[in-house]
């Protein structure tokens, strides 16, 4: 595959010349495409930096040369071409661009809905649609292919303007596996770079992966409505695929006089994925679930990759995974105590152990020789991916193994190590340039290169104060709400993050369950956020909207066509005031 910028250089030559003429003096020899985009020139050299190549030794004082989207030279004495824009790397560290090994970054809110709907919440909306479909006509068995759309390809649904493409990139992520999420066979993933004008610009490899979940799209009413139902369904689909393969072979060899096999899109796509030995992503968390997945794969015979896996620290589990040579994507969304948990409530020892030990999973996998990578798993702030990786380091993972898992290790598992994941000549110029060790919370990202395009990152100086009164962050924090429902007040809580542009994200806890905010914003002293919750009649949108005054809010909740009043406070705020006084 050609690098992005090189691929269309001929078609853009004339434009390039024009622009070069117009932009005299700015750059010596402009690249057509990069210039046409108004971005930085195509030739860069980062000189005198610490270069962490990941694939080889660290170069303490070296140079990386980037040309036309590719890394063209790396080394202590790499020759800098005269046309290159030289960046002084003194005091800077260059890493390969980080990879989020599974996410829905770059995918729009409603995959099947009208184009152009910005913002997150895609999976929630899709889930709602699925629930509506299920209600309309419950699936009656495997033949109805419930929650099965393996033909959906993330590459076909990309939205370059999706908000998180930029936020992820600014945190140092150049590449993600974009993956459809809704359904048992939600579709196929694409490895994408986090920059591009058009969806096609972003794609590094597609289809890269085939995804399986253990969702139960039918609830109690449609098949499958249970975990063993989903597992039985998955087995049946793979059996059907094997049958279809056999039938096709026989029929193709001799159509005359042979019964014509039915066309089934599901088995067609599945067989193509199996033929290509594409990684098949399968979820498992506990020891029992992981061992179950390994055993299931003895039947399915796929190139399985287990994801989530946060209890792989349990005795013998990592060794069992290693024995099957199955790679793992570890969710770095470590379990945490509920934001507003009753401090007096008794918790199970197993729950406490899980919270304590989960971050030691990567170390356990590493010791056992399991190949692994990390993924964000719904984390809202990409910085937390790095922070949480640091927790894995604190729990015993070697820092270089952690970095490898975020770069080359992920690329290997996703089948793109031949083109990205490390700083090597010829690989895609995906780089992140920082002021120091990537896992230090004092480190800032200075530049990110995606496909050789340079992005300057303007990071605010290290941790700002969470002062309660500041307008820009006044909704950020943990909130307690009391909803005045007909049958008495009901508590709820939310862990909110207000972005600089006023976007509100986070998670909500209610007595009906927990949810993630799909849409939210703050304008002036008004705010609103929406999340999806099942109040006993299938998932539906719950909308909180109201006004902020200091550390209190009030407003109304809209749910199932009814409105209720609510009030709320930010209990942590008293403390931050005390902190301020001390300053």
């Amino acid at each position: 595959m050609l690098p992005r910028s090189a691929r269309s250089s001929f078609s853009g030559v004339i434009a390039a010349v024009l622009i070069a003429v117009l932009a005299v003096g700015t750059v010596s020899v402009p690249d057509a495409r990069a210039q046409a985009k108004g971005a930085a020139p195509p030739y860069f050299a980062i000189k005198g930096a610490r270069i962490v190549t990941v694939s080889g030794a660290v170069i303490e004082n070296g140079t990386v040369v980037v040309a036309n989207g590719l890394i063209t030279a790396v080394g202590a004495n790499a020759t800098i071409p005269p046309e290159a824009w030289v960046i002084d790397g003194k005091g800077l560290t260059v890493y390969p661009g980080l990879i989020d090994a599974m996410s829905d970054v770059g995918l729009p809110a409603a995959p099947a809905g009208p184009a152009g709907a910005p913002g997150g919440g895609g999976p929630a909306v899709a889930l709602q649609q699925a629930a509506q479909q299920a209600a309309a006509r419950p699936s009656q068995g495997p033949e109805d292919r419930p929650g099965t759309t393996p033909w959906r390809n993330a590459a076909d649904e990309l939205q370059p303007t999706e908000r998180r493409v930029e936020t992820w990139r600014n945190a140092g992520f150049t590449t993600v596996l974009a993956a459809p999420k809704t359904g048992i066979f939600p579709g196929q993933g694409a490895v994408i770079n986090l920059a591009g004008e058009r969806p096609g610009d972003m794609v590094v490899k597609t289809p890269a992966t085939l995804h399986i979940t253990l969702q139960q799209p039918g609830g109690f009413f449609g098949f499958p409505g249970s975990l063993f139902g989903v597992i039985a369904y998955i087995k049946q689909v793979f059996l059907d695929a094997a049958q279809a393969r056999a039938a096709d072979e026989i029929y193709t060899a001799n159509p005359k006089g042979t019964e014509r096999p039915d066309y089934d899109r599901t088995t067609r796509v599945l067989n193509a994925a199996l033929r290509a030995n594409r990684p098949v992503l399968f979820p498992a968390t506990t020891a029992a679930q992981i061992l179950r997945a390994l055993e299931l794969n003895e039947q399915l015979k796929t190139n399985m990759v287990i994801y989530h896996a946060q209890r792989a620290y349990e005795s013998g589990v990592a060794a069992a995974i290693a024995a099957k040579k199955i790679p793992v994507l570890v969710s770095v969304k470590w379990p945490e105590k509920e934001a507003n948990a009753d401090p007096e409530a008794e918790e199970l020892l197993s729950t406490l152990r899980f919270r304590d030990k989960a971050p030691s999973t990567p170390a356990a996998l590493d010791r056992a020789g399991v190949r692994f990578a990390f993924y964000s798993d719904g984390i809202a702030n990409p910085k937390d991916i790095i922070k949480n990786t640091k927790k894995a380091i604190d729990a015993g993972l070697k820092a270089d193994a952690a970095l490898r898992a975020l770069t080359l290790g992920a690329a290997e598992i996703l089948g793109v190590a031949d083109r990205t994941g490390s700083i090597e000549t010829g690989k895609i110029a995906n780089l992140v340039v920082t002021t120091g060790d990537i896992f230090s919370d004092r480190t800032q990202v200075k530049y990110v290169f995606v496909d050789g395009r340079k992005f300057d990152v303007k990071e605010p100086p290290p941790p700002p104060l969470p002062a309660g009164g500041l307008g820009a962050v006044r909704m950020t924090g943990r909130w307690s709400f009391t909803v005045i429902a007909p049958d008495g007040p009901q508590p709820a809580s939310a862990d909110l993050t207000q972005a600089a542009d006023g976007t509100l994200s986070g998670s909500v806890s209610t007595q009906y369950g927990n949810s993630t905010i799909t849409k939210g914003s703050v304008t002036g002293n008004r705010f609103t956020f929406t999340f999806l919750l099942d109040l006993g009649q299938g998932p539906s949108d719950i909308i909180f909207s109201g006004t902020i005054e200091g550390n209190t809010v009030k407003g109304s909740v809209s749910a199932l066509g009814q409105d209720f009043e609510f009030t709320g406070t930010k209990p942590g705020s008293g403390q931050s005031e005390a902190e301020e006084v001390r300053q």
Binding site: A135, P138, Q140, P142, T213, G218, F220, F221, F223, P224, G225, F228, G229, I231, A232, K235, Q236, D240, A242, Q243, I250, N254, A284, A287, A288, Q289, L291, Y307, H308, R311, G316, N340, D342, P343, E346, L349, L352, R353, F354, R355, D356, P463, P466, S480, F481, Q490, A492, S493, S509, Q511, G513, N514, Q537, T569, P571, G572, Q575, S576, A578, E579
Partner: protein, 494 residues
């Protein structure tokens, strides 16, 4: 909704459950390290209730490689053997529960469809389910883990041994014949089930419909078998272009039933419809292995004996729904007197902790002897599950699945002290008591650790609480609605 179909829980059971939970506390005992797994053990000087070979006073049992090697009053202790002193105690075979829903991850019902024979309990065994251990502490060493009763034809069962600490595979009872759950009456016809608005009611809605669903499923299974036979014949004849039929996970187990390779355990209450099922089975040429609950078994005991079906019932538990009103506590005794192999089951993770007491009730109601009563929770369920060659009595050559009781097990005062499976101690009351302190300590340490880390999560990093701060400043202030308890994340991936 789940429990409604899986188990019938009257209030008194819930009270039991709460009391028992309070006693055992909310701790997770965790597996006790296996004690000399495959070595030699002698249980000495106990009253041995063999169940099939009488009672031996001051007897000993020699266990070698997980099997019972010798039983009697003159058992020599080999050098190096582990000795368990059972002076003043009673030894029985491990109790067997012929109807359980423990250790299932997710729903116990695939309730969306009337025939769900493609789903398998063995696929979703959760070895961390603490019920496995709690039942072990009550002397239960093996369970028939069944799909729920939402469907005329439910899912495939898994017979497990309560080898607490082993993984899911390690719990499965090796050599136990495969089975399947059927269900008749109110649950599958869903007379106690309200569909969602706009939701179509699932077929069947009547007892007639239930029989129709089962009959149709077997007709389909026969056709399925025929299509495979035809294909195999074509292949055997050397035909190259024969396309294999689809392998159907729903119909395969039904073919196995028709071939006598899979046991049917059918939930049922009313005598008439259970009799109908027996006739339907005879029509298709197979035998039903057990009728479960079978509260009106006393009405059809003769027919049951003739068919050869076992009865697995409750001791004294009825009137929790219409079809359970005609039950009597003499049911087990009457079925026994007609020659039916009868077991007393739990259908409940609580009741399975005192199956011995449940069995004892048949002495009061129906005048069963001690041995007859004990049989109902040992050798009889073993026969019903086809595992009687391995377990269910204390005989040389059988698996060393044994329970040591402080009192006669049919006494209300009996408490299981030690539960042994395959010669390995999986529950030891003394050790359990000691371990509780350890676990409490671990728990406290983890909670303290989290508390210590909490300020860092709330404020900006690197800021210690100020010197002038109140000591409890580290803790978060009370929240609005303290009674509100957030749903605990199960740690599962959807």
């Amino acid at each position: 909704m789940k429990t409604k179909f899986a188990t019938e829980i009257p209030m008194r059971k819930i009270v039991h459950l709460i009391v028992a939970l309070a006693l055992i506390a909310s701790m997770f005992p965790g597996p006790i390290a296996a004690q000399q797994g495959s070595g030699v053990t002698v249980i000495q000087n106990g009253t041995i209730l063999t169940v099939t070979k009488g009672t031996i006073q001051k007897g000993s049992i020699l266990i070698r490689d997980g099997k019972i090697a010798e039983v009697g009053t003159n058992v020599k202790v080999p050098a190096g053997a582990t000795v368990i002193d059972a002076t003043g105690m009673y030894v029985t075979p491990g109790l067997i529960d012929c109807h359980s829903h423990i250790a299932i991850e997710g729903s116990v019902n695939e309730g969306s469809i009337a025939v769900s024979s493609m789903v398998a309990v063995a696929d979703v065994i959760d070895p961390d389910n603490v019920d496995i251990y709690r039942e072990l502490a009550g002397g239960t060493t093996a369970s028939n883990v069944l799909h729920g009763s939402a469907n005329p034809i439910g899912g495939l069962n898994a017979v497990i041994k309560h080898r607490w600490g082993k993984d899911a595979k390690g719990l499965l009872f090796e050599g136990a014949p495969p089975g399947i759950k059927f269900a008749l009456g109110e649950n599958p016809k869903r007379s106690n089930f309200t569909p969602q608005p706009g939701q179509q009611r699932r077929y069947p809605n009547t007892r007639m419909g239930v029989m129709d669903v089962i009959r149709q499923a077997f007709i389909d299974a026969r056709e399925y078998k025929k299509s495979w036979d035809a294909y195999n014949k074509r292949v055997a004849a050397g035909e190259k272009n024969a396309i294999p039929p689809r392998k159907d996970l729903k119909l395969e187990p039904l073919v196995e039933i028709l071939e006598g390779k899979r046991y049917v355990h059918s939930h049922g209450y009313r005598g008439d419809e259970m009799r109908q099922l027996l006739l339907l089975a005879e029509e298709f040429g197979f035998r039903v292995r057990t009728l479960q609950h079978v509260l009106e078994g006393y009405k059809i005991a003769k027919e049951m004996a003739k068919h050869g079906v076992g009865g697995s019932t409750f001791s004294d538990w009825w009137s929790y729904k219409n079809e359970a009103y005609d039950a009597i506590p003499y049911n087990a005794a009457i079925m026994t007197k007609y020659g039916v192999v009868v077991s007393i089951n739990s259908d409940s993770a609580e009741e399975a902790r005192h199956l011995n007491q449940e069995a004892a009730k048949t002495m009061k109601y129906g005048g069963m002897t001690e041995t007859e009563a004990l049989k109902m929770v040992t050798i009889n369920p073993a026969i019903q599950l086809g595992i009687e060659k391995h377990v269910g009595s204390i005989e040389v050559g059988k698996d060393a699945d044994l329970v040591i009781w402080n009192k006669h097990p049919l006494s209300i005062y009996a408490v299981a002290q030690t539960s042994i499976i395959d010669g390995t101690v999986y529950f030891d009351r003394k050790k359990d008591m000691e371990r509780r302190a350890e676990l409490e300590k671990e728990k406290k340490a983890l909670m303290d650790k989290e508390k210590a880390a909490a300020p860092a999560r709330q404020g900006p990093p690197g800021k210690a609480p100020g010197a002038g701060g109140a000591p409890d400043e580290r803790q978060r202030p009370p929240q609005v609605g303290q009674a509100f308890q957030p749903v605990q994340s199960s740690g599962e991936v959807q």
